[in-house]
């Protein structure tokens, strides 16, 4: 186990700077998720930690040791790739113990570690199969198994669930969380899926254009987004970002209100709105409405609430849950 520290990391490809001067501390034993839209530099950051890319400037420290110039295999990390990167001509067992064979570990110990990893990941019956004979979820487990057996200090996971279908993704998410709890190692996980970020992380790092927008526990980001970008990125359905004048505040550019923080009433309220689209999710009903003076507002309602397209209602944002942003898109502490 070890903390990961990035000191003034800069990465440029040719003349293009992907990551300009970034500092980050990943605490020992934490599950840190790097999240952001495509091209925001999160995968590059992970590859810098892994040693697959060399920083243009700055240092990478793992467990207090400067590993900026060290080979990936000497960093005591392991990495799980988006495409699994399983070795197609080797069996599951050979895939898992490949790194151990390179370390010239005695056969008995290797076998014991593979057996242990296979047990944790429920792969015992597949050890003699080739990757092509496995399902997507099983392949992902093999990739994780390959990481576990080396007892790394830090696990790096690069969008490991994005190739799986929705049901399997949900299941693997739970398995990953359990794995983190049982191993207790530091995990750095890259995803563009904010649901994965929210459900798995102790600490979320929201990235945008190579910079860190905000770092914090999931609920802090949810409750107190530091910028418009974070507000829009975290939470599903997205936060409503409305012009300040819609709540009678000319001094703020944008007012954010989450769909579940809007009260709905049939007779009175702040905005008069018409229902445009209704999504029934069972536990919740999501209504997309158009209000006077505002383009559209998304509202989360209890699942049993029956709404029809064209229904007219009054909406009122809860003042305590309003998020206000200035001209630069930065948070303004709300005046209640």
């Amino acid at each position: 186990m070890a903390e990961v520290r990035l000191d003034n990391i800069t990465k440029s490809f040719g003349g293009v700077t992907i990551i300009p001067q970034l500092n980050l501390l990943v605490p020992d034993g934490s599950f840190t998720v790097l999240v952001g839209p495509s091209g925001c530099g999160k995968s590059t950051l992970l590859r810098l930690i892994a040693g697959l890319e060399t920083p243009t400037a700055g240092n990478v420290l793992i467990g207090g040791r400067n590993v900026t110039e060290a080979e990936p295999s000497q960093r005591e990390i392991s990495m799980v790739f988006q495409s699994y990167a399983l070795f197609p001509h080797m069996t599951v067992a050979q895939n898992i113990d490949f790194g151990l064979r390179l370390q010239k570990m005695p056969k008995a110990e290797r076998e014991a570690r593979v057996a242990h990893a296979a047990k944790i990941l429920a792969l015992e019956t597949y050890l003699d199969r080739k990757p092509s004979q496995l399902s997507g979820g099983q392949r992902q487990r093999v990739a994780i198994g390959r990481s576990i057996v080396r007892n790394p200090k830090v696990f790096l996971l690069d969008e490991p669930l994005s190739n799986l279908d929705a049901a399997l993704r949900g299941q693997m998410r739970i398995e990953l969380a359990q794995l983190h709890r049982s191993l207790g190692s530091t995990m750095i996980y890259v995803t563009h899926d904010q649901v994965e970020a929210m459900t798995l992380a102790d600490q979320i790092v929201v990235m945008n254009g190579g910079r860190i927008e905000q770092i914090g526990p999931p609920m802090e980001l949810y409750d107190r987004p530091a910028s418009e970008f974070v507000a829009a990125f975290i939470g599903s359905p997205k936060m409503n970002l409305l012009p300040g004048r819609s709540i009678g505040r000319q001094d703020v550019r944008t007012a954010g209100i989450r769909p579940e923080h809007i009260r709905v009433d049939g007779s009175s309220g702040q905005w008069h709105a018409r229902t445009e689209v209704v999504e029934t999710l069972g536990a919740d009903t999501i209504a997309y409405m158009s209000a006077e003076g505002i383009d559209s507002v998304t509202v989360r309602l209890p699942g049993h609430m029956r709404l029809k397209v064209g229904d007219k209602l009054f909406l009122t944002p809860e003042p305590a849950n309003l998020h206000l942003f200035d001209e630069r898109g930065q948070r303004i502490e709300a005046r209640a």
């Binding site: 295999s73 990495m79 699994y84 197609p88 390959r146």
Partner: protein, 276 residues
């Protein structure tokens, strides 16, 4: 099936038969020629023999010279294939995997070899081989053949290697695998289709090579089969039936080699070898 479909099918099969006959016609004439007398070959080359003469094939098979030529050809061809595959794949691996200054220029320079006609190099080659003291040895044929086969081999290997998923290398690299180990443990085992394809090309080319052995091999002991075949050409007459029987027997290994490697070539064309 509609009428136009039937017509299209007939045209297709007919066309394929014509194309196949270009290969099978001469092959059949060669095989059958070995059973005929010289007169019969000259009067009716494509017909079945009037009298089937098995003695010509039997004579050749019982001649120790034939087996020696065949052995020489086999040693030279196999050595050429092994050397071309080793050197070509190693060079192509560097071009595909490592970014270094001048790699594009060096690669273009190597590819230029594709345009270089072998026959024009024959005299300087002879001088070089003689100076190295390799005349009348297998190496006199193996080394130049390998050198001339490398352009195509590197071109084909590089294309194939660069299509192997990058993550495979990165995953192995993170585990502590070196470039050289990756080459032996991953690149080569995952490239059997292209290794087979290049191997077949090189083998067949070496097996049928006539000009280079003619120039650099003088002793009968070192002759390859195309040179051995020349023993049936006298100053005043050519023993066509013996020549054809000899050719039939000597092309058999090349055909067998091709059939054996065909599975891998087809596998390479249909893909899926790497996707795990």
């Amino acid at each position: 099936m509609t009428r136009s479909n039937i017509l299209r099918e007939i045209i297709r099969v007919g066309f394929l038969c014509i194309v196949a006959s270009f290969v099978l016609g001469p092959l059949a004439a060669t095989v059958l020629g070995g059973f005929k007398s010289n007169t019969e070959i000259q009067t009716s080359a494509l017909s079945l023999p009037e009298i089937w003469r098995f003695d010509i094939y039997a004579d050749i098979l019982s001649d120790p010279g034939f087996w020696r030529y065949l052995g020489n050809s086999l040693i030279i061809s196999v050595a050429t294939v092994v050397l071309t595959l080793l050197v070509g794949s190693a060079a192509a691996y560097v071009f595909a995997q490592v970014r270094f200054f001048g790699s594009k220029m060096l690669f273009s320079y190597l590819s230029l070899g594709l345009m270089f006609p072998f026959a024009t190099a024959i005299l300087p080659l002879f001088v070089q081989v003689r100076d190295l003291g390799l005349l009348d040895t297998y190496w006199a044929v193996i080394l130049p053949q390998t050198a001339f086969g490398l352009s195509l081999a590197i071109l084909l290997f590089r294309t194939f290697f660069s299509e192997l998923p990058k993550e495979l290398f990165e995953a192995a690299y993170v585990e502590g695998c070196s470039y050289i180990r990756f080459f032996w443990q991953f690149t080569l085992p995952l490239s059997t289709p292209i290794l087979a394809t290049v191997g077949v090309f090189v083998f067949v080319q070496s097996w049928n090579n006539f000009l280079l052995p003619l120039v650099v091999l003088n002793s009968r002991e070192a002759f390859t089969w195309p040179l051995g075949m020349m023993q049936y050409r006298g100053e005043f007459s050519v023993e066509w039936n013996r020549t054809l029987a000899f050719v039939t027997l000597t092309i058999l290994p090349a055909v067998v080699f091709f059939v054996a490697a065909q599975k891998y070539i087809v596998a390479g064309l249909t893909g899926g070898a790497v996707k795990g």
